[in-house]
Amino acid sequence: MYDVIVVGGGHAGCEASHIAAQMGGKVLLVTGNIKNIGDMPCNPSIGGTAKGIIVREVDALGGLMGKIADISHLQIKMLNNSKGPAVRSLRAQADKITYPKNMLKALKNTKNLEIKEAMVEDLIVEDNTIKGVITAEGEKIASKTVILTTGTYLKGNILIGSENTPGGPHGEKRSNYLSEKLKEYGLKIMRLKTGTPQRIKKDSIDFSVMQEEKGDSHYWKFSFDTPYQYKIEDQQSCYLIYTNEKTHEIIRNNLKKSAMYGGYATGIGPRYCPSIEDKIVRFADKERHQLFLEPESIYYDDWYLQGFSTSMPRDVQEQMVHSLKGLENAKITKYAYAIEYDAINPLQVKPSLENKILTNLFTAGQINGTSGYEEAAGQGIMAGINAILKIREEEPLILKRSDAYIGVLIDDLVTKGTIEPYRMLTSRAEFRLLLRSDNADLRLREYAHRVGSITKEQYQNYLTKKEKINKYIEFLKTNHLSLTEENKQIFIKANIELPRPNMTYYDLLKRPGITLEFLEKNFFHYEEDLEILEQVEIEVKYEGYIKKTFKEVEKLLKLEEKEIPEDIDYDKVANLANEARQKLKQIRPETIAQASRISGVNPVDISVLSIYLKKEYNHE
């Protein structure tokens, strides 16, 4: 018998099966097509704002995405590098051939992990407890836990204009019955929609009239464990172009023909990835919209036209694409399409990602209502870890909103639910100064070590790094700058306000305009890795803001500690407002903090609830 069966080989499924196996579980990954493992059916990139930080978090927890992206990209950039440290995030243009190939290789090299090609159409359920899966061929496979990471394959429908074809991306087979079965077992199913733009043949594009967007001339990597494995000069470029009045006119004239505006689609599409017709209708006064051309792979000639996703019929898409500068003669190799699929209402999922109705069933990725490879990977790794912890009969690992973007993501999903595919944004995180790209390992490796999802060596490296940081900060705190005439001149020359005499380097570093590099260059010598320098500088320079954020976190943690017993009967809690009572009954929050984030549950209701808990459970 398997410990864990993972259904689906997308980004959630890869992380879930890999981490569960790495933690010692006997794991089976079932997928409809082995060739599509780690597939990127939409944009050819990994990371992006906030998402790049999730990739770092997955890596810190022992996951694969960062390591695979590091050896599979065509270009890498640090977004927001000129902004504050909290909002910096990596994005790589990943090669759509290399990435899945490297991912499959990594999975095949994972001990305890088997891969099987089959379509799962039902679950073995006894007394609301999962005992395994049943394939389309009727084969029953037993396991202690099941993780569903079905992506867009649950009753997937491809929409191009008024055409509606059952199937997953690339015209793959879809799962026809699984979502119906889930409904029978008591889960609420919702219908979501997402879209993807056209692919254009490389030699039909006139790049000479477009604005080139190069990769950074600085080395970057996602993973904390591996060295740099690319050459800066080998990076491929992307290109920026704009829509024009002619494009807009074509879209306006054909609006009725689009699946969305013509009324052929029923799913709810995401606001942050609107179709181009949506943009033209909603922002009618905008004269142009930005589009990007991105290479999909060096092994074939498709270029991805980011920003142009649409559900228009093929002939209109031809006109639209040809109206763009540099694409007058473009050959469309793949038309844009919208895809509709079934997902479960995430309010039925616990913070551990286990299902509230079906014991030992976990879900991750698009099935939980999210969008994006990184969001999927983040949930996948947590589902994998928690499935194993469940088997070990240990407490689940639940990352808090102050621990990780992954924590924010899952908490949002299971507390607030979602009606559109959920995408991570920096603005969703209230403690983003703590949730930085640079410190994902410092935030999460301790947890990873505790549950055993990283190796001893990885943990040791983390401890060494931490020690180096502390040592350096200690050095800065205990050494002073004597303000000699010579030193004064250095400040005057650099146009920096003269400091008070005999300040510590630590206090100096806090002053505006003074960097660690400036101090190290002029006043002392301290050999250390760039990674350490960055960490030290951020921790010292932003200490005031970080402390302020920690104060807010403390308030939250106090409430997180107050657990709500699972057996609470909200009908017995007197004086709750009706809306609050309904929401609490539906969501069944695990802590007072989670309860307080539910819309419709007011501070008064929280007071009433606290008093009830104290009375009934002698809850502190």
Partner: protein, 451 residues
């Protein structure tokens, strides 16, 4: 429950003494910071200490401070009670000073709630706490929404909306850095925005302090010709002999103040020297002051004599005060009517006499009606909600000033934004229309982005 709370424990009517109570771990250190005579952190529990409270260099009041250490207190936390002089100004000043420290205003019923949660009071008692929390919170929410004047709410909402737009813009710059067509919030732009928000909030802080009836009371000037009975009216209203009353015209030269409380709102009466042309220099100052006071008053009670005809001068002064709230008291209605009421019928008129005080109660009623004092829910509550508002506005202003400092220090825009977001949240709390995903919704309704 690790934060420290404070509130005025006595009612807000004018009494000889007010008590401000603090509960929580920092209660003693916070008060100690203001107290100069001795170190209150070193004193024994359940002891009383005489001394003075200072806000930096400014003397707040001469006080008695009672120190009670946890756990033998009402809330089982450290409790400090400050006995200060009564009167809204002094008490409010001390409370405001405390709120600037690491202390927040207690919510209604919070002391009792803490007493319960800390195991100090029984379940039976707790049932009533439950009710109390429900009742008072609803009331305070309604008040938070209604009691700030519609105009003020609108002002706050406007400022907040502008902040929201800037925030959404900054977030868009962060989440979609490659979208160069969107406006980039630069340092210069941030400086402009913040300076404007700081000015806007300063105005609100001033308004909140000066304009609010509940906080400051209503200033009433009693004006009229000499010997028309102004001082007697004041005496009646104040129920004490504070003003000097004689039959000699022009006796009252100094402006005498006294206060009463009507429906929880403080009414400050200003007696004035008679208004008439005079050659007496001492009295001239009195007349000038009268006009000046009338200008500063929220309400003028204009006293005329039923037994005399109105003079040109009286009509002229009334016309001059036309932008004031005015109640005309026709005094001496026990004597034959010689006054031409036609000339003043456009004003609210109350008839009475100071001889046997007939009809003077109606004067109070007229004031209550004029300012709709009956609509103010309850004096303590209104007052609390007001202090809460001032507290929030002050904190919002502080946050903006901190942001300005960060800007000056050359911090990145997304770091400066931390305090701008704080101010935006505080204003949301103030007008009560914040919701969790507001910012995200804001981003997608105002910007055009995505694949």
């Amino acid at each position: 429950m690790t934060d420290t709370i404070c509130a005025i424990a006595t009612g807000m009517s004018v009494g000889a003494i007010s008590i401000i109570r603090l509960s929580g771990p920092d209660a003693i250190t916070v008060v100690n910071d203001l107290f100069i005579e001795k170190d209150l952190t070193k004193v024994r529990t359940h002891t009383i200490h005489y001394g003075h409270l200072y806000d930096n260099d400014i003397l707040l009041d001469e006080v008695l401070v009672m120190i009670m250490l946890a756990p033998k207190t009402y809330t089982k936390e450290n409790i400090v009670e400050i006995n200060c002089h009564g009167g809204i100004n002094t008490t409010t000043k001390i409370l405001e000073t405390l709120l600037k420290k690491n202390v927040r205003l207690a919510t209604p019923g919070e002391y009792t709630k803490r007493a319960f949660l800390n195991g100090r009071i029984s379940l039976l008692e707790a049932e009533s706490v439950n009710d109390l929390i429900n009742a008072t919170n609803d009331a305070s929410r309604i008040m938070a929404l209604n009691n700030i004047g519609g105009k003020l709410t609108k002002q706050i909402r406007d400022i907040r909306e502008k902040m929201g737009k800037v925030l959404a813009n900054i977030e868009v710059n962060i989440d979609y850095p490659e979208y160069e067509d969107e406006l980039q919030v630069t340092h210069d732009l941030m400086h402009q925005y913040l300076t404007k928000f700081s000015t806007d909030l300063s105005l609100l802080v001033d308004n909140a302090k000066n304009g609010k009836l509940i906080n400051n009371g209503i200033n009433v000037a009693i004006i009229g010709k000499p010997n028309v009975g102004k001082s007697s009216i004041l005496n009646f209203l104040l129920d004490e002999d504070k003003a000097i009353v004689t039959d000699i015209p022009g006796t009252t030269r100094d402006i005498v103040e006294g206060s009463i409380t009507l429906n929880g709102v403080r009414i400050n009466f200003i007696d004035t020297a008679g208004i008439r042309e005079t050659t007496d220099t001492v009295e001239q100052i009195g007349v000038l002051k009268s006009k000046e006071k009338a200008e500063k008053a929220d309400l003028v009670i204009y006293v005329v004599n039923n037994n005399e005809e109105l003079t040109e001068e009286e009509i002229k002064l009334l016309d001059n005060l036309k932008d004031k709230e005015i109640i005309i008291l026709v005094n001496k209605n026990d004597l034959p009517t010689k006054i031409d009421v036609e000339k003043i019928k456009k004003y609210d008129i109350v008839y009475g006499n100071t001889k046997n005080f007939d009809g003077l109660e109606n004067l109070k009623k007229a004031i209550i009606e004029k300012f709709e004092l009956e609509k103010i829910v309850n004096n303590d509550m209104s007052y609390l909600s007001n202090i809460r508002q001032i507290d929030l506005i002050n904190k919002a202003k502080e946050a903006i000033d901190t942001a300005l400092k960060s800007e000056k220090d050359g911090m990145e825009v997304d770091i400066i934004e931390i305090d701008l977001k704080l101010a935006w949240n505080l204003l949301g709390e103030l007008i009560g229309d914040a919701y969790t995903d507001e910012l995200v919704d804001n981003i997608f309704s105002n910007f055009c982005l995505g694949k």
